[in-house]
Amino acid sequence: MAETGETTVIGADSHFKGELSFDKTAKIVGRFDGTITGKGELQVSKNAQCKADVQAGSVAVDGRVEGNVNVSDTVKLNGSGVVKGDITAAKMVVVEGASFMGMCAVGPEAQKQMSAGGGNPNKPSQGGGDAQQGKK
């Protein structure tokens, strides 16, 4: 984890609506609605709620994320983490106990397709694959 001085923190009693950009590390402890864009690491803490489309270098989820997550490096879903949305990443770790509902594309190919501007590999033709539509 980065030093506190370099970390953008949305505190436990905060509710943030809007667009968040960061370079190094961001940590959501409270609630966040909107979009998140960053080059560094996003941490979603245990009781945090994040309704956002996320684009970041890496993401660690201990709380709840609703939205699509596109990550250039690693997504880590820890035991208490919940993700409802599509995930695209080069690497992914899902720890036992984590909950995940959505399309998932992991590996260099998925990442290449994403970075080449080919769009989300989870949405091949008719824009399907959105977890919030509740595909069963």
Binding site: T74, K91, A98, M103, G107, K135
Partner: protein, 149 residues
Amino acid sequence: MARKAKPAGPHLVQCYHCRHRFEVGGRAQSTSCPGCNKPVIVEDLVIDKLKAGLIELRTCGSITVKKKGRIMAERIEAHGGIVCDGIIEAKKVLSGRHVVINKTATWRGDLQAPSIELKLGAKVKPSYFDIPADPQGLADLGEPPSGDG
């Protein structure tokens, strides 16, 4: 396809045809469901080579796909969980217990399981993952028999 050795103790299984629950001996490989009279595979399957062109691969036990193993099927159902070191390609994969996708694994297929462990390095081609609490009401079957007999 190899078979895992099992302990002798009886254990509870759930028929994948009619969802009827019944007890089988620990060494049983297959049986007929007392509920629907259809044949049911109850053994743990170990896949260590290509197993392609299947419509369904179903067992009340677990499925282990070794590093050189590869399953290509329409539907895979394993009530005892799945461990994948090789390749799984399916349209739908249903697991009653924990699924482990190891670093050497490649996965394609919509997955429904109570929990999943995806190790760093595993490749997942676009697939829908549904990891709810208890997908088919199998969580209360108790722990699968452990250890080799």
